[in-house]
């Protein structure tokens, strides 16, 4: 029996944390490990709640005993009883609890992460994510070959998503709290993770390993959608850009943007920065730092360093406002 797939267990797993969280300050959020929407995250959230309750009980017992010993006891303990208390309370009972907990966790482990290997054999959606200071290059496998995008991951609900993860510059860490725990992206090494979203929604992923000046501003959006919708979105993503002519594109090419950015279907083929073919369809820009609206796009074009310190993109403050506006509008039109 796998511990993860029983329907009643899953239901119990969902209600228990929820009840607890409502009682506390609330656990919800687009980036919360306690508001799980995926296979691994759910198991771990369950593990957390069990351990928290157990831990709270242990803490209360120890502190109650200490307070009693310090201030309220009526008579003193003999040396022998004290030794026995240490043996049982300090050694034997903790050993048993820890052994049980360890065995449980070890039993869970092969079912969480070696699951990846099984997934590679069985198929599902595949892709490759590269973390670069300070954004995410996403290359999903499609029927017509890999399709590059950036800072947005679109996954089908209920299906496996197998990702290989690398980094060309420094160590980053790939983390979508609502779906699964994190795994580092280390130069020279290739790591893998398998995700499965069980609930449609929009979640947030972040870089979890300090990676430089704007580490704090390196996030991405995860959209979990039903499989049919996913197929449609993936097909749309694979198409060339919606706008392949006009003043905006002319400026884009003339001002040197194409040296770093690609827009499929045009002459812009730069590979240094994010692919902008469908940048207009993404909910955010600058790795989930700003909303994708005209004002933010203009702001970022003018002085990216003010938004994201240390970013590699130069500022275009020297362009007349009208040109900035045209460029920003053009990018917004790249749906």
């Amino acid at each position: 029996m796998t511990p993860l797939l029983s329907a009643t267990q899953t239901a119990a797993r969902r209600t228990l944390p929820l009840a607890l969280c409502l009682a506390a300050a609330g656990c919800s959020g687009p980036q919360s490990a306690l508001d799980p929407a995926g296979r691994e995250a759910e198991t771990v959230a369950h593990l957390f709640f069990v351990m928290t309750i157990g831990g709270a009980v242990i803490w209360l017992a120890v502190i109650a005993l200490a307070v009693y010993a310090g201030g309220f006891k009526q008579r003193t303990l003999s040396e022998e009883t004290g030794q026995r208390l240490i043996l049982w309370g300090g050694a034997v009972v903790p050993t048993l609890i820890l052994a049980a907990l360890l065995a449980y966790a070890l039993w869970l482990m092969p079912d969480l992460r070696p699951w990846t290997r099984e997934a590679m054999a069985e198929g599902g959606v595949k892709g490759h994510v590269t973390a670069e200071q300070y954004w995410w290059r996403v290359r999903m496998e499609g029927p017509g070959g890999p399709v590059e995008s950036a800072n947005e991951l679109i996954v089908p609900v209920g299906q496996r998503v197998d990702l290989t993860l690398t980094s060309p510059d420094v160590i980053h860490s790939f983390w979508i709290p609502a779906l699964a725990g994190k795994i580092d992206m280390i130069p020279g090494r290739t790591n893998r993770i398998t995700l499965r979203a069980d609930r449609p929604g929009v979640y947030r992923g972040v870089c979890a390993e300090f990676c430089g000046e704007s580490h704090a501003l390196m996030a991405f959006t995860v959209r979990a959608v039903p499989p049919q919708e996913h197929a449609a979105l993936a097909a749309a993503e694979a198409r060339p850009a919606a706008v392949t002519s006009g003043e905006g594109l002319r400026l884009f090419l003339e001002k040197g943007c194409a040296a770093c950015h690609a827009i499929r279907g045009t002459e812009a083929r730069g590979g240094v920065g994010p692919d902008l073919t469908h940048v207009g369809s993404r909910p955010t820009i600058a790795a989930a730092t700003l909303p994708n609206d005209q004002a933010s796009r203009e702001r970022f074009l003018r002085n990216p360093d003010a938004v994201k310190p240390g970013v590699r993109m130069p500022g275009y403050d020297m362009l007349p406002p009208a040109e900035i506006e045209t460029l920003a509008r053009f990018l917004g039109d790249l749906k």
Binding site: A24, G26, S28, G29, P30, Q31, D35, A41, V44, L47, F48, M51, G55, L65, A66, Y68, A69, G70, G71, K73, T76, L77, E79, T81, G82, I86, G89, G90, A91, P94, L98, A105, L106, M109, L112, R113, P114, V170, S173, P177, G181, K182, I183, D184, I186, P187, R189, R192, R204, A208, E209, F210, G212, H215, A216, L217, A219, T289, P309, G310
Partner: protein
């Protein structure tokens, strides 16, 4: 013990108690003792080396660094109070959190334990001082200089900014990490050297400088912990030093140890860093718990229940803590089974920790508890620490850690552990031991106010962080977006942090406020049972008036006449007839007196040595190579002057009457001498660093299918020649030692000269191998690691040459003879390690490519 060839008249028995003759004896003894142990005044005050001075400076400096790092923390909390705040820049924030972690760990947590131990360990052991007072002073001055250098960098916007664990490639990238990373590496390497010096001092102090009768089953629990922790330092710090060497070679000379493009691997740094980093948590935690183990019996007014259990816990933790390091690397994608081993060991280490807590609870249950401020801090700390321990159990499980790792959950966890397990116990210790240092008590009222502010502020500040982290907030972010559910949690944390800081300020005020008009505390104000409370209020710089015979774990409770005997000079060493500073050396298990040790007095040379060594590191940071070289030479000169004038001093007589009819030798060499022990312990640390480099070699072999490129390598011939020559030099050194025992000075000198020549030749042959085969260390990781191993061995051969020449010079100067042979014995001991280093190095670089 050597056969007595005494030239001393047997002492007359002591005069009758309180007779005029007795009073006169006591008075003259006190005058002489006071003069021998006098603290210098004026500017010379800073040349003091006595543990009471150095320890207090050390403690105060560590606290100053703590307050500095605390201010950085408050700046960070202010920045995070609201989302999208722009109080400080991203770069400043990154410098602030890097420096906060670095300073708290390297300049506060570890040094404070050394500092407190330097102050109280000799008192607890009824010793006049630690065995190597000048080494303590050297460590202190190194610490001050290195600490100021590292902290000061932030005022020049040059502080390290890549996090306190300095992961490459970010931290090896000169453009992104700037000079800050060099400051971190070199500044801290310097301080690590000081920590190892302290470890040597404390191990020898605990094992060899106890009062007679204090058998190993009677030593204060604090001493047990210090022994274990000092041993841990010996195995934990050297891997970091090895890592620092690789790191700095990459930064300065582009050797690709962590660069994947040239087959290096960033993960090797993580291994080396955390092999140090996790034991370090226990290096910080155990001494603080040791303070609680002294405080609890005092306030329960009974001996500890479960003394043996504490020993179990301390030793057990010491070992297990070395099997945890990969739990900082659970998210790096290592094979599941590797993670699982470290999960398992991380759960196992909880057992001894639980034992310690139950020992305290059992002792409280078995005693009649007096609740004073030290107990308040101790129990408050315990309540906090247990939460940290329980969250530690959680993050030790890899699946949970995949979520919690590098989030505010971990920030909360580590602060619960360190503040509950270290800062609160230290504060308890300050309130408890303050009278030992100043003779005055701290204010109980301010203590209570400080405690409650700290306790409430801490929990308000850090408890919400568990939730913040699991709701997705990563650590080390200078800002965060609105609407992720973190706003209120962060605001509450900031408020809590400032309340906590207010509590710390109250305690600091209590410590530094002038107490001139307050009366001195009563002697042994807490009615404690251990020896440090023998001290008068205020104490004398000689420490203990005379060294008592010990029969109990709590001698002040169980030996009614003890204080009087000590005060009246009826213990051992009641006098300083020759005006020398003396303390007792005893055997390890049963504390039988074996030597009257003369400890060196005040001197400026430890400070000079520390500052010149600091100059080496600082000049190297700025790549001022000529200045570096000048400082190197100056340091070497200072060191040799120090050794020549201050160590293995030939006494004017072989033996001395120390009281109670006991005659002890003054000069001992070989395994019976403390200098031999210091050499042995230092070399164990040195061997650990070497083992870490060898680990690096095999680490690369593990991850690369073709680690040794076809046809590359230093060849077999020259490494074997080097090995042979160095082993021959080792044999020549041993011959010199043997000839010295036989008293054949001429042959000794010849042997030493031959050994020197062989060593020089061996070193040259070692370098010649990789040189003639054109191994370019910047081209690939294989030549780089080969070169590092060879350089390590050759540098050690260089040190060996200096030692051999030193012995030769001592022999020519008549200071190394058959009878006075400490130097020869210690150098021979060094050579055992040197021989192992040579055989392993040249065996690995020469033969492994053939075999593997």
């Amino acid at each position: 013990m050597t056969a007595p060839t005494s030239d001393i008249e047997a002492r007359p028995t002591l005069p009758e108690r309180d007779s005029p003759a007795d009073l006169e004896r006591r008075r003259t003894q006190e005058v002489r003792l006071r003069k021998a142990w006098e603290t210098p005044s004026g500017w010379h005050y800073w040349t003091a080396v006595n543990n009471t001075e150095v320890g207090v400076w050390y403690t105060a400096t560590a606290f100053a660094f703590m307050l500095f790092a605390g201010v950085l923390a408050l700046i960070m909390r202010a920045q995070l109070a609201v989302p999208e705040n722009d109080l400080v820049s991203a770069d400043f924030y990154n410098q602030a959190f890097t420096l906060h972690g670095t300073v708290m760990m390297f300049l506060f947590s570890v040094p404070i334990f050394e500092a407190v131990a330097i102050v109280i360990l000799p008192q607890m052991l009824g010793a006049r001082d630690l065995p190597f007072p000048r080494l303590s002073a050297f460590g202190f001055w190194s610490f001050v200089l290195g600490g100021v250098f590292v902290c000061g960098s932030i005022f020049f916007n040059a502080a390290p900014n890549t996090g306190w664990f300095m992961y490459p490639p970010l931290a090896t990238d000169e453009k992104q990490s700037g000079i800050g990373a060099d400051i971190w590496l070199l500044g801290l390497s310097f301080i690590e050297v000081a920590s190892i010096a302290a470890a040597v001092e404390l191990i020898v102090g605990t094992l060899k400088c106890r009062p007679p009768g204090m058998r190993i089953n009677l030593i204060p629990l604090f001493a047990w912990y210090i022994l274990i922790v000092a041993g841990m330092i010996l195995f934990a710090f050297p891997p970091l030093i090895a890592g620092d060497i690789l790191f700095e070679m990459e930064r300065m000379f582009d050797w690709p140890f962590f660069d994947p493009e040239r087959r290096g691997d960033p993960l090797l740094w993580q291994h080396l860093f955390w092999i140090f980093g996790h034991p370090e948590v226990y290096i910080v935690f155990l001494p603080a718990i040791a303070l609680i183990a002294m405080i609890v019996p005092t306030f329960a007014q009974r001996p500890i229940v479960g003394y043996s259990w504490i020993v179990l816990a301390a030793v057990g933790t010491g070992f297990l803590s070395f099997g945890l390091w990969v739990h900082h690397m659970f998210a790096t994608g290592l094979p599941t089974i590797s993670l699982a081993f470290f999960s398992a060991a991380s759960e196992a280490v909880v057992i001894p920790t639980g034992v310690q807590i139950f020992v305290f609870i059992a002792t409280l249950l078995a005693g009649r508890v007096i609740f004073a401020v030290p107990m308040l801090f101790a129990t408050g700390g315990l309540a906090i620490f247990v939460i940290g321990g329980l969250t530690g159990v959680m993050v030790a499980l890899a699946p949970f850690d995949w979520q919690a790792h590098d989030t505010y959950f971990v920030v909360a966890h580590l602060h619960y552990v360190l503040i509950g397990g270290m800062l609160f116990p230290i504060t308890a210790g300050i309130y408890y031991f303050y009278p030992l240092v100043s003779g005055k008590m701290l204010s109980m009222r301010l203590g209570k106010i400080g405690f409650w502010l700290m306790f409430v502020g801490f929990n308000v500040g850090f408890l919400p962080m568990h939730l913040t982290g699991l709701r997705g907030m990563p650590r080390r972010v200078f800002t965060y977006a609105d609407g992720l559910g973190w706003d209120w949690l962060n605001l509450v944390s900031t408020v809590g942090a400032f309340i906590f800081a207010a509590g710390v300020l109250v305690v600091v005020y209590d410590v530094v406020r002038p107490k001139g008009r307050e009366p001195y505390a009563a002697r042994n104000p807490w009615n404690a049972g251990t020896l440090e409370w023998l001290i008068g209020m205020p104490g004398e710089s000689w420490g203990v008036r005379s060294v008592p015979f010990i029969k109990s774990r709590y001698p002040l409770w169980d030996q009614p006449d003890l204080i009087r005997d000590v005060d009246e000079g009826r213990g051992l060493l009641p006098d300083a007839e020759e005006g020398k500073r003396e303390t007792l050396v005893t055997s390890v298990l049963d504390a039988e007196p074996i030597q009257c040790l003369r400890v060196p007095g005040n001197a400026v040379v430890p400070m000079v040595a520390a500052f010149t060594l600091g100059g080496v590191f600082i000049a190297a940071t700025f790549k001022l190579w000529i200045t570096t070289l000048v400082f190197c030479v100056a340091f070497l000169a200072a060191l040799i002057y120090w050794l020549w004038t201050g160590t293995s001093v030939i006494p004017e007589k072989t033996e001395k009457h120390v009281g109670h009819g006991l005659v002890l030798p003054i000069y001992r060499s070989g395994p019976a001498s403390i200098g031999w022990w210091a050499m042995f312990i230092t070399m164990v640390g040195d061997a650990t660093a070497f083992a870490s480099l060898v680990f690096g070699y095999f680490f690369y072999w593990t991850i690369h299918a073709d680690f040794v490129p076809e046809g590359a390598g230093p060849g077999v011939l020259w490494p074997m020649v080097a090995m042979g020559l160095l082993v021959a030099a080792w044999a020549a050194t041993l011959a010199a030692r043997r000839l010295n025992t036989a008293g054949r000075a001429g042959a000794v000198r010849l042997s030493l000269a031959v050994a020197t020549v062989l060593t020089v030749a061996g070193g040259a042959a070692g370098l010649w191998g990789p040189w003639t085969t054109n191994l370019d260390p910047t081209s690939d990781v294989y030549p780089a690691i080969v070169w590092i191993l060879v350089i390590w061995a050759v540098v050690h051969a260089g040190v060996a040459v200096i030692m051999l020449l030193y012995c030769l010079a001592r022999s020519l100067a008549g200071r190394l003879t058959r009878e006075w042979d400490i130097d020869m014995a210690n150098v021979a001991l060094y050579w055992h390690f040197m021989a192992i280093t040579a055989v392993v190095t040249f065996g690995v670089v020469g033969l492994f490519p053939v075999v593997g």
